[in-house]
């Protein structure tokens, strides 16, 4: 199997783009990625694009063909992948296979979502499609509700505090100050979080990632070709995906995400690395509690100590294991189908040493952790500045 490298990245600003639809967003991200890789459209052989719910948000399915058409690349084949908020990490997982198959030497992987100013359906309705519609959403459970249940149990079982959850949001807003593409450029305090409106107890407004419009794209090639394109390729050391029950209510323990553990164990094995070898990580902080759970499940601390980890400062830039240097879903924004690809854009910028005011010094190995639904799909990628 061939190794795979990333030689180009493109991303839009995340936020409310009232003058841009799917077409404008993917075109901007795609063209930036093509320009970053120094290639032309003729080089592209396959397109794989994630989008969670373009049908419910804007009435547009068939977004693979839309990608190809609006990037001017017909008749290049296009695959849309969907796995809720992990849609574009699944696109990358699929793209890695496409390169490994030997069939394609240059693939565009990306993701997009248009969630504001939408067509008929509110975000809460569409996002509920990521959980078990029949057995959860139908009875009134919402996504903040799902993660509130996990938070309540985590607080009960491990003593995680309300303040520790708030510290996740404070850190990620601070990091986003240095990310020009982030949705929010506003420092917040623990008190701001604790005084923000209650959404689903114990989660408050500032515990929740915002809805957003945005797109991100990556150009991937066989590792042995990478230096033809750039002096600073980023190598994909592991691409791993796992599934768990669609419904949260079917799980034996809701303080952990089993698919994260399956995926990350596989990823560490593929990469030949351990948690201590990871220099920084982008993790799926759709709600603050989920960053705490993720840092435990990924092995950055022991189970139940994720709250203490953020409180210790170890996950800040300059700490032992910086988490969500981009601002995370919380402050960078969370256009769901674009989030996985955007996490990887952050990994690439850090590993190239191009992350500016949020640069992790000496970053050699980064990890991206993207969750669909309440953890029914988890994708973990590990990337490195060096090939092995």
């Amino acid at each position: 199997m061939r190794d795979v490298a990333i030689v180009g990245i493109g991303i839009t600003k995340f936020g409310e783009h009232w003058n841009s639809g799917l077409k404008e967003l993917i075109t901007e991200a795609g063209i930036k990625a093509v320009e970053d890789a120094g290639i032309s459209g003729k080089d592209i052989q396959l397109i794989i694009g994630g989008s969670m719910s373009s049908g419910l948000f804007v009435g547009q399915e068939h977004t693979g063909a839309l990608f190809t058409d609006y990037l001017g690349l017909n008749p290049v084949p296009a695959i849309r992948t969907e796995a809720a908020c992990a849609s574009s990490s699944v696109a990358l997982f699929t793209g890695v296979m496409a390169i490994q198959s030997g069939r394609y030497d240059c693939v565009v992987v990306g993701g997009v979502e248009k969630m504001t100013d939408v067509y008929g359906n509110l975000a809460t309705t569409a996002l509920a499609g990521a959980m078990d519609r029949d057995n959860e959403a139908h009875f009134g459970l919402t996504f903040p509700g799902v993660y509130a249940l996990m938070a309540q149990r985590h607080m009960y079982q491990y003593g995680t505090t309300r303040e520790q959850m708030a510290m996740v949001a404070v850190k990620n807003h601070e990091n986003a100050m240095h990310n020009p593409n982030a949705q929010f450029h506003r420092k917040i305090t623990v008190e701001d979080v604790l005084n923000s409106p209650l959404v689903s107890d114990p989660l408050r407004l500032l515990d929740c990632s915002p809805i957003a419009d945005g797109a991100a794209a990556l150009i991937i090639v066989p590792a042995e070709h990478a230096k033809k394109y750039t002096d600073t390729p980023v190598y994909i050391r592991a691409s791993a995906q796992a599934s768990d029950t669609l419904g949260l209510y079917m799980r034996p323990d809701i303080t952990t995400v089993g698919a994260t553990i399956s995926a990350v164990q596989n990823a560490y094995r593929q990469a030949g690395l351990r948690p201590g070898d990871i220099d920084f990580a982008e993790v799926h902080d759709c709600f603050t509690i989920n960053e705490i759970i993720a840092t435990e499940d990924l092995g950055f601390c022991r189970k139940g100590e994720g709250g203490n980890l953020v409180q210790s400062g170890d996950t800040m830039i300059g700490g032992r294991i910086p988490v969500n240097t981009s601002g995370g879903l919380k402050a960078k924004g969370h256009p769901v189908g674009a989030t996985g690809a955007a996490q990887v854009v952050e990994l690439v910028e850090q590993l190239r040493g191009e992350a500016g005011g949020r640069q992790v010094s000496g970053a050699e190995n980064g990890l991206a952790h993207n969750v669909g639904g309440s953890g029914s799909t988890v994708v973990v990628h590990i990337m490195s500045r060096n090939r092995k």
Copy 2:
């Protein structure tokens, strides 16, 4: 690159399943495929499932995780692919790459759609997501309208007659009489078609494929392992996909589907076969005119002669090139996300010699042609009883 073979198939009856949702449909098709291959769940390493618009139809996205969960296969990774009515052929195209990558040795590929008794949105609304929402559907164009435009132009340019289109429906209803899984078991006449209600001039009700519920699944493995599973594997000789503009209005010629021509040329090249080597084909007769256009674009007759081809009887079982022996989308039914996989189920049954009253005698090579939207995505597979 490894060759790929199909060693198991499963399909539900197509039609109105008022007591079955997505979960029941995929479970039935998946378990039948597993039983047909003589494997157990533990053998399955990856799931790739197509669904066009489960979000709009039943409020459920994240259908990959749903597949894995309800087939009892967690933590096996799952990818949902979407390309409108070609969603599950894109799943197979992706599955072929997964086997070719060397990473997986046993993959379930399938598709599902639940279109009747649905959640809030009418089929016409959801299906319009396969075309250009902003520039076509927004102005009132529907899918019958798209194909009516193609039919009008084909009649004008090539003299194709209303009666020839009706003959497509008559043939496919006749074929479906021998397919126990078909939605319709009712012979019709040319007069029935011509007297059926006008939907979008010149297309009448009996020119249109019906909406349906259904699912289909395939078990694919490396060709060199196939004989371990079955004495009658079917070999995938070509897997090709191409894209064209999302909107019909952007095309220079609407009597042809450019992506069909791109994909089939690639497929013939991969297989080392020519149109004359194909013994039978399943083609995308979402509307009768599209079977006529497809037989031309696939090279079974010259451009403009598709109407004469069906009139000649050459596409009947026993004719020179039987088309839609299963009953086609027209009479077998068209649960959009399941259709591509269902076409392949028919190829496998024919190539195994298990097609009963609709068997094409001596079938060695079959072709499946699956269209998304008005031809924005086309996937062509060629399969054979023998490996080369």
